[in-house]
C-alpha cells in the first residue's frame, strides 16, 4: 500500500503544477469573461445566469480546460521517454507493474476531477459576481433561485452538475472511459498496437454522441420519450474495464518501453 501511495504521489506530483494552473483559470476565468460580457450588454443585460454564462464564453473555456488537462497528461507521459528516459527506471522499480499503471490512471483522474471541481467553484463565484453586477446596473429584483434554475435550464450547466441519477451515471462513465481511454491510447502507441484504434474510435464516437445529445436536451423538449442513457453508460463502463485490463497487460509485458 505504501508503495502505491508513493507511486501515486509521484505521478500526481508531475501533474500538480499544470493542474493547479488550470484550476486557477477555471475559478478566475469566468469572472473576467462575465465582466466583459456584462459590459458588452450595457444597461439591459440578460438576467439569466445560464445565458450569461454561455454567452460570455465561459462554457467554451470550461470545455477547453478539460481538454488541456488531458493534453498536459500526454505531455508528462511522453516526457518520460523523450527527456530523461525515466520510463526505464520506473519499469525496473521493485513494484508490481499493475501498481505503476494504477498510479498513472489515478493521477490523471485526480487531475481531471480537480479541474472539474474548480469549474464548479468558478460557476458559483461567477454567479455571485454577476448578481452583484446586475444589481449595480439596476436590475433590482434578480431571478429568485437563479443558480438553481441555471443548473436546471442551462444545457451545459446541467451537464456539469446533473440532478438525475441516470445523468450522474453517464457523467461517471464518460469520465472513466476518457481517463482509461487516454492511457490506453498512449500505451497502444508505445507498444505499436495499431488495432487499439478500433475500441478507441468506438468509445470516442459513443462519447461524442452522448455529449451531442446531452448538450441539446432543451431543444428536444417535444420529443416524446427521453433517453435514460443507461445503455451508453454501461457500454462505456464495459469499455473502461477493457481499457484497464489491456493497459495492465501492456505494463506486465513491459511492451511499452
Amino acid at each position: 500500500m505504501k508503495t502505491f501511495y508513493r507511486l501515486f504521489a509521484h505521478e500526481f506530483g508531475q501533474l500538480r503544477g499544470i493542474t493547479l494552473l488550470l484550476a486557477a483559470i477555471a475559478m478566475g476565468g469566468p469572472l473576467l469573461l462575465l465582466r466583459l460580457e456584462l459590459k458588452n450588454q450595457g444597461s439591459r443585460p440578460v438576467p439569466r445566469y445560464e445565458d450569461l454564462f454561455d454567452a460570455s464564453g465561459s462554457a467554451a473555456l470550461y470545455g477547453s480546460l478539460l481538454v488541456l488537462t488531458l493534453l498536459s497528461f500526454l505531455l508528462v507521459f511522453y516526457s518520460a521517454y523523450w527527456r530523461g528516459k525515466s520510463i526505464y527506471t520506473s519499469l525496473t522499480l521493485p513494484a508490481p507493474r499493475e501498481m505503476l499503471y494504477a498510479s498513472k490512471l489515478l493521477a490523471l483522474l485526480t487531475s481531471l476531477l480537480a479541474v472539474y471541481s474548480a469549474e464548479l467553484i468558478g460557476i458559483r463565484l461567477g454567479y455571485a459576481y454577476s448578481l452583484d453586477k446586475l444589481q449595480a446596473i439596476g436590475v433590482e429584483h434578480p431571478m429568485n433561485n437563479g443558480l438553481f434554475l441555471a443548473f436546471l435550464r442551462g444545457d451545459f450547466l446541467r451537464f456539469l452538475l446533473p440532478h438525475d441519477p441516470t445523468r450522474l451515471l453517464s457523467n461517471a462513465a464518460i469520465l472513466l472511459a476518457v481517463t482509461s481511454g487516454i492511457l490506453y491510447a498512449v500505451l497502444c502507441e508505445r507498444s505499436r498496437k495499431g488495432w487499439g484504434a478500433l475500441p478507441l474510435t468506438v468509445g470516442a464516437i459513443t462519447i461524442l454522441r452522448v455529449l451531442a445529445y446531452r448538450l441539446s436536451e432543451s431543444d428536444r423538449v417535444w420529443e416524446l420519450s427521453g433517453r435514460s442513457l443507461l445503455g451508453s453508460s454501461l457500454f462505456l463502463l464495459a469499455l473502461t474495464i477493457w481499457f484497464i485490463w489491456r493497459g495492465i497487460r501492456f505494463y506486465q509485458r513491459g511492451a511499452i518501453a
Binding site: 476531477l113 433561485n145 443548473f151 440532478h163
Partner: protein, 454 residues
Amino acid sequence: MRKSPWTQRLLRHTAIPALLVSLAVPGIMALDVFRQKEEAVVLLETLSGNPSVLSDVVLQGEIADAVHRTSFRVAGGQVENRTTLLRQPKAERAYRYSYGGRKRIGLGDDLEYEVGDVGPYRIVARSMSAPDQTGRSASIPAITRPVKKSDGSESRSFANPLEYGLAGDGDKLYFVEPVTREAGGEATIYEIGKEDLFGQAKDSDGAPIRKRVSWPLVPASVDPAKAVDVLGLEVVRGNLIVILYGREGLTLRCYDAGSGEQTGTVTLPDIRIGGSDESEPSKAPVTTQVQEGYRAYADNRANSLTLGFPRSFEENREGWAEEVLSFTFDSEFRLAHRVTVDDPNTRESRLGYGDATAMSYQNGKLYTIRSLNILHSADQQREDSLALPSSIRINVYQEGKRLYQGALITDLNDDLLELPDPSAYSGGGFSYRVERYRTLMNASFFPRNEEVGP
C-alpha cells in the same frame, strides 16, 4: 527557485488530499444547489374579502416549465408547495381546450380526442404519451339533413367546432352533432365506450356506438321560432346536458344518460349570441351579448357544471369579461348561480400551453382561478404581446357578488425579467419556449373532504 525540504516533503503528500477535495466539492455543490428547490415562492395575498371563504375547498395546481414543476396546495389558509425536478427537459402537455383544436377531457388524462370527417363522423382518440396509439369509433351517421343551397349543392353548417359536441364521463364518451338551426332531421346523442376505442381488430369498423337520446330538429326554414343551434354537449355524473340556442335564448336540456329521459330544462331568454340570426327582437327587456365559444368546467366531485361564455366584443369593452353560469343536479337540474365576471384592464394570460383557468361551483359559491395580464397604460401599445407579467387571481363569488379576491404570488414572472422596460419593448421578437417560461398549469378546486394528493 529551490524549494525548502519542508515544502518538498509537504508537496509529496498532496495527491490524496487533492483527490478527496475533488470528490467532495461536486457533492457539496450539488447539495447546496439542489437544496434550493425548497425555496420556490408560492404565497396567497388577499386583495379583498375574507380568506376564510376558501376554507371549504382545496385548490391545487402547478407552476411548471419543461425542467421542473412546483405543485402547490391552498387549504385551510395554508399554502404548501413542493418542487420536483424532471429527469431531462420535457414539455408538459397540460390540459387546455383551444377552440377548434383537439379536446382533452378531465385533468390527468393521457388521451386527446378529435372528431374526424364532416358527417358521417368518427371519434379519434390519441394517446399523448404514445401518439402511435390511436383508437377510433365506428362511423357515426349524420342524421341531421344537410342544407340545400341555392345552387343545388348540399352542406352542413355547425354552430361550434365539432369537438364541442363531444363530452366524456369516466369510461364513456358522448357525441352529438353541433349543427346550426338550418339543419333538420333528428339530433342524436351517441354513446361510445372509452375502452372500446382501443384494442379493436385492424379490420374492424371501430368502437361500437349506441344511440342514447334523440329529438327532432325543426329547420329554420320551416319554423324559425322553434329552430335551435346545437352549441355543444357536456356530461356531469351521468347527466347529459345539451346546450341549445334559439329565438327563446339559451336553453340547456338535461337528459339521464342511463334511461335517456329528459330530466330538466333551463332557459335563459336574455342571453343573446352575437352573429346569430336576430330578425325577431328578443322578448327579454335587457339582453346579455355573449359569444358561442364557451368554456365548460364539468365538476364530477361537486356535481356541478360551470359554463363561461365570453362577453361579446361588440360592446367595445376593455378587459376580460365572461358570463359565468353554474348548474347543479342535486334534486333537479337548475341554474344555481350566475355572475358576470368582469375585470377591467385585464387580459387572459396567453403565455404557455397550460390552461390558466379553472372554475368550480360548490358549497353555494363559485371558485375561480385565472392567470391574467394586468394591462397598464404603458402596456396598451403592446397588448398583442405574449410576454406580459401575469397575475394569478383567485376569486370567490356568491349570489352574483364577489366575496373574495386573492392573488397567488409566485416566481413565475421572474422568467420575464429579460424584458424589464415595457416602453422599450415593441412586442415583436419574443418567442415562447416551454423550457424557459413557467406557467400556471393543471389548476383545480376540490371539495375539502375529497382532496387528492398533488
